[in-house]
Structures are given as C-alpha cells and as structure tokens.
C-alpha cells in the first residue's frame, strides 16, 4: 500500500495521467488468484478452465458496486450419475475474496444460480464447479466496479435492518411443474454489514453482521446449501432451481454470524 503512494504523488507533479499508473499495475492481472487464492481454496488439484461445465456471467462494467448481478449456469444436467455438487464463487480483489459456496444435489434439477454481490474494485470474479466425480471446472469474468459516487455497501442499510430476518420465496406462477426443474427466488432481508471498514474517522462502524448459512430443502430433501460471506449484497437474493416430485413444502433456514436464525416456508402445489 505505502509503496504506491510516492509514485502517485510523483505522477501528480509531473502531470502524467493516472492511466499510466493503471497500466503499470495491470488490473487484469491474476496474481491474487495464481499467487494465493487458488492454493488456499483448491490446493494443487487440477482445474479445467472454460465454459463447458459451468458458465459465469457478470457485467463488465458494474453499475452499482453494492449490487452486481452475477449468474452461474450449469451446463450439465443434474443427474444421480453425475452432477455439480459444489460451486464456489471467488472475487479476487475483494477484502474477503471468498463470496460463497453452494452445495447442490440432483434434486436441484439445474446448477443455475443468480445472486447480487459487492465488488470493491476492478477484479476477476470466478465460479469453480466441483462435479460429483471430484473434478474441478472454472469460469471467470472481469468486472470493473465503477458506480460513480456510491460505495459497495447498500443504499439504505437501516431499511434492511428494520426488516431484519424477513424472508420470502417467489416462484413463477402459483403451481409447480412436477418432475421438472422449477425456478425459485429466495429473498432474505439482512443488512449484511461487512464490519471491515477501517474506522479512521469516527467510532461509528458497526461490527460485522452477515448471513453465514442458507439451507433450502423441499419436503426435507436438501436443494441448496450455501455458505456465504460479506461479498453478498445487503438483502441477499438467490435464484435457483428445484425439482418437486409431488406437492410439498419449500423451506429456507438462514443463520447469521451472530447466531441468529430465521426460517421461511412456502407450500408448493401442483
């Protein structure tokens, strides 16, 4: 950090545009991944890169760094013989690069996920899928968080706090299609306070308070189990699939880092 300060001042004095500096420290550089994150999360296991098994879609220019929509698409069917059993989402240059991991099952139907994340700077975002045969596949995208004057926190955290723990499911239509993957959205109201901001100005920063675990089941069978961290936007919002074999109950159980738990359920009719 400190080594960066003198060159900046020097540039300012000589009037060379900052873009020179940006080029000097290439934002597309993958050093954070190759140097540390890869080994930290996956050791020396081989990872196949490409979009054949999993594909990550993210906007190149993030309009709002507090709400960057990310989509992950599974390219293989979730069958009992072979399926994507875990997807890990890493945002290289965030203060906490680990954003979330999602455990899926054949009952998930499709390994498609969508969510909103916080992106602090210019960074690669990567999704790593682990298939049921233990192989790893990675898809990545580069995101420039610009977002004008906003910051990657959330616009109205007090409103989220006031609704803390409220949850709801949203499905297309009121009836499920049996035996097929059905799309569902889970909305959780939680400020997801990062607690990370260095308090250089006042003593007002609230300690970290964020959703740590999300478990969704259908009639007791796990559909999606997620471990989540502070990169998930305030009011966490997940889209995913599940395959109902009969009418039943979709249930979500949330736990945050302070140990608070919240549950919600929805009756699914056929």
């Amino acid at each position: 950090m400190q080594t960066g300060i003198l060159p900046r001042i020097w540039l300012l004095v000589t009037g060379i545009a900052l873009s020179t500096l940006v080029q000097a420290t290439d934002p597309q550089d993958e050093g954070a991944w190759t140097g540390a994150l890869r080994a930290q999360y996956f050791g020396d296991r081989p990872i196949e890169e490409g979009n054949g098994v999993i594909e990550l879609t993210a906007p190149y220019r993030a309009e709002d760094p507090a709400l960057v929509p990310i989509q992950i698409t599974g390219k293989i069917p979730q069958t009992a013989e072979k399926y994507i059993r875990r997807i890990t989402l890493i945002i290289d240059n965030n203060p906490v690069p680990f954003a979330a991991s999602f455990d899926l099952t054949p009952a998930s139907g499709k390994a498609d996920l969508a969510m909103r994340v916080r992106v602090n700077s210019y960074t690669h975002v990567r999704a790593i899928a682990e298939t049921s045969d233990g192989k790893l596949y990675m898809s990545k995208a580069f995101v420039k968080a610009s977002g004008g004057c906003s910051a990657p926190l959330g616009a109205d955290l007090d409103a989220a706090m006031a609704r803390l723990g409220k949850m709801k499911f949203r499905m297309d239509g009121d009836k499920a299609v049996l035996g097929q993957p059905n799309a569902v959205q889970l909305l959780v109201s939680h400020p997801n306070i990062t607690g990370l901001q260095m308090d250089q100005i006042s003593r007002l920063i609230k300690p970290a308070h964020y959703v740590e675990e999300v478990k969704v089941s259908f009639d007791g069978t796990p559909v999606l189990t997620a471990r989540t961290d502070i990169a998930i936007s305030a009011d966490p919002n997940f889209r995913f699939y599940f395959v109902p074999d009969k009418a039943g109950e979709l249930k979500a159980e949330i736990r945050d880092n302070l140990g608070k738990t919240f549950t919600a359920s929805q009756t699914v009719t056929d």
Binding site: L18, D64, P69, S150, D156, A159, D199, Q200, A234
Partner: protein, 310 residues
C-alpha cells in the same frame, strides 16, 4: 517508509500544486441572490481532468460570518473556494455545511478546518463518511488522480437530528435533515431572507438524478421541499439557480417513472438484470449522463421495491 514522512512530502507537493492553481484560476462564482454565491459545476463524470470538481458549491454571507455550503470536489477546490470567499468578504467562515457524503461535495473540507469553524451535517453523515472513506480513498487514487487521507474527511461536530438554525448575523439559515432520498444523509438549507432553498443533490437538473438512498423516500422528501416557501432553489447539479418549485418537475417525473416501471417489472417476475435493460429508457433524451446512471438507479430501486408488498 514511515507514514509521517509520506504525509510531509504530500503536503509539500500539494502546496506547490496549490500555488499553481491559485495563480491561474479564481473559482467562478455568481451571486444568485444578495449574499448567496454559487459556483456552477458541470455535467461530467468525476475523472482525472475535472478532478471530481463537478457539483454546485458555494457560500452564504451574513453580517457576522460566512457559511460554506459544500466545500468542493477536491482538496484543491476547497482551497480555491476559501480564497474566493476572501475576495468577496472580509468576514470569517464560521460554518461548513456538508449537504451529504458524496465526494464532489465534501472533498474540500480540510481547507476550512480551523479554530472557530464548525462543521455541520446530517446525523447520519459521520457514519456514512466512516463507512465509505476507505473505498473513496482508493477510488480517488484510481479515478481522480490524487491522494486523499482520512484527514480530508472532516465529520460534523454538530449533527443535525431533524432541523437546526444557524445565525450568520442578521441572517438565519434553517437546516433540515431529510429521510433516505438521494443518500441516507441529505441536508437542505433554507435562507428565509431571500426565500432561497439550497437543495443540493435533493435537486438534479439536466444531470440525471442519482438514487443512492431511497427512491420512494426521495419522492416523499420532494413533496416536503415543495411546501417550503422558497422562490429560488440551488440544485446540486444543474444551473446555479432556478425557480422553485418548478425546478423539481423534471426530477419528479423521472423518479415517478422509474418507480412505476420498476414496480411493473417486479410484478411481471422480471429479474433485476432484465429491468436494468429497459426501465426508464423512454426518458433518456431528457437527461445528460443517462447511460452512466440510469441502470444503477434501476438496480437500487429494484432491490428496495422488491420488499414493498409486505
């Protein structure tokens, strides 16, 4: 390298820079009503060329002292504003009013920090500064081309809970702390003497309004502001002055349109990503910087309005 050394070097060089800036550019100011001076910003994204100096800023002069309203978009602009005040009046600055946390309105704060100067802001401003400072400091280095430190953010020593009156000597300013609107820490200033409302970023004209607080909250606060008996208003982005309340019509139309279309998208089970592509686009021609800010407005509104039906 010890931090103290870096700071000393930084200061020395900033001093040099300031010398150059002061020699060539007096901050252009317009006296829009007796004793109210406004520097008009420009409709641009903050970058290394404009150095973030894009907002309308200025000051109000009483018989005893001066209140600065928004200190500038860079430490240099803060110093230029300070120098310009001295050209217009021998009276001292007694208040620096920060209308909200955005960089283009507060980065000049440090120039005014002195004994006898009180910093005034919304009761949520200090928290917003603390939350955003680390990100803003990185962003200034990357996008604006200068180094900021924590000292450039001067939090208010007098927080405004609901409202507050400041006496500048035979001139009383009435400050109102608003609910979440443009940001969650918006403050407006009313000068009864000239019936002028310094709306700051609660009022955008020309430049697309930016929702970094609450869309529905902003519409409520506009209603509240329309009840203020002002004849003139000073927008945070737009002309130096405009007639009140007509000045708010375009902004209100855009925000209402945004709310209507986002609600419809949510009802139709469209995703945020889909809504960002279409919502608001019929209003594109009425605004500058539409492409830069409309999508983010849609996403902020979408995430909030998803909770509306309960």
């Amino acid at each position: 390298m010890p931090p103290r050394f870096i700071r000393t070097v930084g200061w020395a060089l900033c001093g040099l820079w300031w010398g150059l800036a002061a020699a060539q550019s007096d901050l252009e100011l317009r006296e829009i009503a007796p004793g109210i001076f406004v520097h008009q910003g420009r409709h641009e994204l903050p970058d290394t060329h404009n150095r973030g100096e894009i907002a309308n800023i200025g000051f109000i002069v009483g018989e005893r002292c001066v209140a600065v309203i928004d200190s500038g978009g860079s430490p240099e602009q803060g110093r230029a504003l300070k120098a310009a005040i001295a050209v217009h009046t021998p009276l001292p600055v007694c208040y620096v009013i920060n209308t909200h946390v955005h960089p283009d309105h507060i980065y000049g704060n440090r120039a005014f920090k002195a004994p006898g100067v009180s910093f005034i802001g919304h009761h949520k401003l200090a928290q917003a500064m603390a939350l955003r400072a680390p990100y803003y400091i990185d962003k200034a280095a990357r996008d604006l081309g200068y180094t900021l430190t924590a000292e450039d953010f001067v939090p208010p020593d007098q927080p405004v809970e609901e409202s507050m009156e400041l006496d500048l000597g035979n001139r009383t300013l009435r400050l109102t702390a608003h609910g979440p609107a443009h940001t969650d820490n918006d403050l407006s200033v009313y000068d009864a003497k000239t019936a002028t409302l310094w709306a700051a970023d609660l009022l955008f004209m020309g430049h697309l309004p930016v929702v970094d607080g609450s869309l529905t909250g902003w519409l409520k606060e506009i209603d509240r502001l329309k009840a203020v008996p002002a004849r003139l208003a000073i927008p945070g982005h737009g002309p130096a002055v405009a007639d009140w309340p007509q000045a708010a019509a375009a902004e209100e139309r855009y925000l209402n349109g945004l709310a209507t279309e986002v609600r419809a998208a949510i009802r139709q089970h469209r995703t945020m990503e889909q809504a960002m592509e279409t919502v608001g686009t019929s209003m594109r021609d009425e605004w500058r910087l539409f492409d830069e800010f409309n999508k983010r407005n849609v996403s902020t509104a979408f995430a909030a309005l998803e909770w509306e039906d309960d």
